[in-house]
């Protein structure tokens, strides 16, 4: 027992709580905070950056697509739907997607091209022969063929028109997708 007491007297006496201790306690709390912050930043920052990586702007890729080989073969005054296959880099998969545009011309020189997705929720719309306008079968949206403006139904904005160029009598369209279901035109 005596030995035990001797051992105990060798132990450092517990610090008495009091004003003298406060700086040490304060320092240890500060040190803990700093170390915790260092660990959190070095673990968290790469993780957060990688997580948010897809939300950052991507380098622009050439979005011009050849949709028709000969402009002379296109009908005048009747819109025509042109499908084309696009090779898309989808993260680690290179995939091919089928997209479409509606092309419309009244004089064979000046063209209107609309993204093939309805601006409401992205369904493919069709040309209504009787009423001479675009009609979306999903929710009954209707668009004007000449301007793309909404005539009826829920679509929040006009059809998304795309830039058109004729190069060596082939038709090229600057194909882009836009956010759907919102009134403003923002690229997706």
């Amino acid at each position: 027992m005596a030995l035990l007491q001797w051992r105990e007297s060798k132990l450092p006496s517990p610090p008495e709580p009091g004003p003298a201790l406060m700086p040490r306690r304060g320092f240890l709390e500060f040190l803990s905070g700093v170390c915790a912050a260092i660990a959190a930043v070095f673990i968290g920052l790469p993780a957060v950056r990688a997580f948010f990586s897809p939300a950052l702007p991507k380098p622009k890729v050439d979005s011009w697509v050849r949709v028709a080989d000969d402009v002379a073969l296109l009908d005048v005054g009747v819109p025509i739907r042109l499908d084309f296959v696009q090779t898309v880099e989808d993260a680690w998969v290179e995939s091919r997607t089928l997209n479409s545009v509606w092309l419309y011309t009244e004089d064979g020189e000046r063209f209107k091209a609309y993204n093939g997705h309805c601006t409401h929720l992205g369904c493919s719309y069709v040309f209504n022969q009787e009423r001479k306008n675009f009609f979306c079968p999903c929710h009954g949206g209707e668009f004007d063929v000449k301007t793309g403006e909404v005539i009826a139904g829920p679509p929040p904005r006009a059809l998304d028109d795309l830039k058109v160029e004729i190069r060596d009598s082939a038709v090229y369209v600057d194909y882009r997708d836009f956010r759907l279901g919102v009134p403003e035109r923002v690229e997706a």
Partner: protein, 498 residues
């Protein structure tokens, strides 16, 4: 702020929680070694956070696994750093778990009343190794594929159940799509859930039982054995006394833990930033010449298998891990001496140093052996897989019996076979290939045998050719080849003409 605290306090007694967790007293004189447990936990948190984001960019299918990793490395911000941290974090976990275990062992902390926590810790060690084994396959590169092929083959040598075991591990008889999906599920679902649950209990027990003090605290005046009827009472009073003379967990102990924790994170990030995780060529199941290397923490086991004769292999492959598991599990149940300092436990001391020393020696010999494969001394750089295959053929065909390469081979002094040390500077690959196939066309009276089909296939000749072309002597880095190729004037095609 104060109101929010009171609102919470009234409902879940935050103040009580704080008293129980943060203000609880710990034995004073805790060493820095006592921070190893929380350091391991920190490394585990690194693995959880980085692992979650890695999983967002990973496709567990042989078609896409490799591409998805490459996309992560090149196309995702901080992707390479993140993967590097996961890679080095894994090694850190193994190091820290082992160090923590050694600490607990040397301080006799597995003894009464902490036997259960030791057993949980042993389970955690093997779960961590399971993480390492399953995670190694996921990048689906050469290293991943072949190391796992060997690893699962080792499991296959288990007597009686080996055949079933290897199919269970691979999800079929071949290493492939099912294996990858299986390893992925184990790596991101089963193992994390098991580890998390056991870690929670492991830590809850530390809080409930209090951390083990330094060994001498519990030795003075103690009964000889922990199963002595008076030991429990002795332990309670002694530990209580040590605790009441101690320091509060917060901030004294927490500060120490966090200093070490931040250090662990910094080291992992630094290693990840400098070395990354590495990605070899995509897995090629047809490239049988690839020599796989397991992750370093499996090296002792891998190396051990090299030392035993083939007939004993299955005994060692299964017996050695089984013996270690059994010894670790039985340790706290049978070792009931109350002495805790390692200095006064000669048998334990011997056992520990024997095992650690043996493991270090096995790793050491494996690293020494690896060096020549990493950088071939006669070439001065690592060989490609084709060149490695060529070198293996060169040895198998006893080419060194006549030809010298560097200081090796060319047995007879009088042998007039050319020294091949710098043959890659003298001859082009095309010339070497033709020569190997039909040497007598070049020198009608040569002693060199013809190696063309059927003795070696065209592909094998090409492999040897590539190896020979890589031989450029001591100044391989600066020397420029000056080919002195002379082809025989009579071409075969000409000869065949009527």
């Amino acid at each position: 702020m104060l109101d929010a605290f009171r609102w919470l306090d009234e409902r879940i007694d935050v103040a009580g929680l704080r008293r129980a967790l943060l203000d609880r007293k710990m034995p004073s004189e805790l060493s820095w070694w006592h921070t190893l447990g929380s350091a391991t936990l920190t490394a585990f948190m690194v693995q959880v956070v980085t692992g979650v984001v890695l999983a967002m960019y990973y496709a567990p299918s042989p078609d896409h696994a490799y591409d998805s990793i490459r996309y992560l490395e090149r196309g995702v911000m901080s992707g390479a750093l993140l993967r590097g941290m996961h890679h080095w974090g894994a090694s850190a976990m193994v190091v820290l778990v082992l160090a923590h275990m050694v600490r607990v062992f040397t301080m006799g902390a597995y003894k009464y009343p902490r036997e259960i926590n030791w057993l949980l810790g042993v389970a955690l060690l093997f779960i961590v190794l399971g993480f390492g084994f399953t995670g190694y396959l996921l990048p689906w590169d050469q290293k991943a594929y072949w190391a796992t092929a060997v690893g699962t083959n080792i499991a296959g040598t288990t007597p009686v159940v080996g055949g079933i075991l290897v199919k269970l591990l691979r999800g079929g008889s071949q290493l492939g799509a099912a294996t990858l999906a299986r390893f992925y599920a184990l790596h991101v679902l089963l193992l994390p859930i098991s580890l998390g649950a056991i870690v929670l209990v492991h830590i809850a027990l530390v809080v409930r039982q209090g951390i083990a003090p330094r060994p001498h605290v519990l030795e003075t005046g103690a009964p000889q054995r922990t199963d002595h009827p008076e030991y429990a009472a002795y332990y309670r009073t002694t530990y209580q006394r040590s605790k009441s003379a101690g320091v509060p967990f917060w901030p004294q102990i927490v500060a120490k833990d966090l200093v070490v924790g931040a250090g662990v994170v910094l080291v992992i990030a630094l290693l990840a930033g400098i070395y990354g995780a590495g990605l070899e060529a995509p897995a090629d199941p047809t490239d049988a010449s690839y020599v796989p290397h397991p992750e370093w923490y499996f090296l002792p086991f891998f190396e051990l298998l090299k030392l035993v004769p083939g007939s004993m292999e299955s005994v060692v492959a299964v017996g050695a891990p089984a013996a270690i598991v059994l010894a670790l599990l039985l340790l706290p149940l049978f070792d009931r001496g109350s002495t805790r300092s390692l200095g006064q436990r000669p048998a334990s001391r011997f056992g520990m140093f024997a095992i650690l020393g043996g493991m270090a020696m096995l790793i050491g010999s494996s690293v020494r052996e690896e060096a020549p494969t990493a950088v071939a001394p006669e070439v001065g750089r690592p060989l490609t897989s084709v060149e490695r295959a060529g070198r293996a053929l060169f040895k198998r065909q006893q080419c060194g019996g006549c030809h010298a390469v560097g200081s090796e081979g060319g047995a007879e002094k009088g042998s007039d076979a050319p020294d091949l040390t710098e043959v890659g500077l003298r001859h082009s690959g095309a010339w070497l290939h033709s020569f190997l196939e039909q040497p007598e066309r070049f020198h009608p009276d040569t002693k060199m045998p013809a190696y063309g089909p059927p003795s070696l296939s065209h592909q094998e000749i090409e492999e040897i050719t590539r190896y020979l072309a890589s031989l450029r002597g001591k100044n391989w880095a600066t020397a420029t080849p000056e080919f002195r190729d002379t082809f025989p004037e009579t071409d075969q095609r000409k000869e065949r003409k009527p």
